[in-house]
Amino acid sequence: MRPAPRTIVVACVAAVLVIAVGIAARPLVPSLSDRESGDPDLLARVRPLLSEGVHDRVGVVEIDGDRTRFAHFGADDHTDYEIGSITKTMTGALLAEAIARGEVAEDTRLGDLVELDGAPAADVTLAELSGHRSGLPRLPGRPSDQITGGLASALGRDPYRHDHDTLVAQVAAAELSDRGESHYSNLGTAVLGYALAEAAGTDYATLLRERLLDPLDMEETFLPASETDLPPDATMGYSERGRRADPWLAQAYAPAGGVRSTPADMERYARALLEGDAPGAEAMEPRWDDGQGGRIGFAWVVDEYDGTEVTWHNGGTGGFSSMIALDREGERAVVMLGNTTTGLELPALELLTGEDS
């Protein structure tokens, strides 16, 4: 039986609707931008290192003594990137600076600064939090946090949109395991930043601005607490599925990974660290074994690669990757920032320690 004309029209409309919605919601898989700028030699060395994985915009900073080279793919010195867990090195610097000022000590108990009502975490020290030896879990262990966090990550949302009350409740509810051994903890670094701000009588963003960013003239580095804090042309990140990822905002978990910065500012940071001028630079000093053959300071990891001692930290958010690696003895540093989740650790280490470095 031949369908009625009206049925045919409805069928066509249904098909067009499915196709229209499907095209509007299509996956947008990025590829490494061919819009290159910066030092030609560095560009030539970086290009093959980015042949694997998914890349879109990438910014590279290479410091060698007094000389700095930049290389950019689809970006420039002032393109903003989420630096993710490199933020932890800044929180480590704030701890070192607070110790130098006499506000806290390495063995100050978390419970002395944050109201934890005798929870197990109240007994851990600030140094343990910064060195990932507190025994706190990597992420909040409450089932509701795990479900909402996992769902947010799977959908490309920011899994860390918690206020400080929630953070404190998560820490208070956490069980400690293997305290004194190295277990990476975003939860621990987040509450460390909160505790340092409490000790200084301010909030984390202000503390970071006053004690680290302003002294280093890092004017392009910021902590967006909400979408309205992002510039209209803020760089968009891409998830491992090639989908646009929501920006990670700097709320209670800001000390663990909430900073946005640019290659120009990260050059200032890396150079100040190399020269020992950065506030809290002693955070880089290795203090404990990291359990994987390396050493760890206040967040900084110290490992040996190809005979070179490298002080480093990487970062990753829902749509960005980053790496900072310092050869302090050789007065060299490499910073790599990208707006996809493909890791930049190996390219950065290759640039710093490889044959062509």
Binding site: P3, A15, L155, E240, R241
Partner: protein, 128 residues
């Protein structure tokens, strides 16, 4: 090679394969009047259409598109659109509800999947 590195490819193939098979099944059933593989009633057509759209959404959200050509998305999208159109064309000639034993199961299945689909879309819209 670490077998775990193949996992994302397996996920991608499974999701898009399931999506394509659902759409193809709906398309074929829409054109058959007899036999086992046909649409039994309007609830059956609705359940299978919603299933197909649900799998399309899952494929979009969970496929690691960095590993798979985006052309695959357009292929499953075209297949889904064709199958939805076919179901709509078939709709007037189907009984509202067949009298077999599984009629209730089909109705519950259609409503259940529709609920999940709407909840998922609502969650996406509300959080994004």
């Amino acid at each position: 090679m670490d077998p775990l590195t193949l996992l994302p490819y397996a996920v991608a193939l499974f999701l898009n394969g399931a999506c394509a098979l659902n759409a193809l099944g709906l398309l074929l059933r829409s054109w058959r009047n007899k036999g086992r593989y046909r649409l039994l009633d309007r609830w059956d057509a609705a359940a299978r259409t919603i299933d197909t759209l649900f799998w399309l959404l899952l494929a979009l959200l969970l496929t690691p598109w960095t590993l798979l050509p985006v052309a695959v998305w357009y292929a499953v999208l075209a297949l889904t659109a064709a199958s939805v159109a076919s179901a709509v064309l078939r709709w007037p000639s189907l009984p509202v509800r067949a009298q077999d034993r599984k009629a209730t199961v089909r109705r519950v299945s259609a409503l259940g999947t529709l609920f999940v689909l709407v909840a998922l879309v609502a969650a996406l819209l509300l959080t994004g």
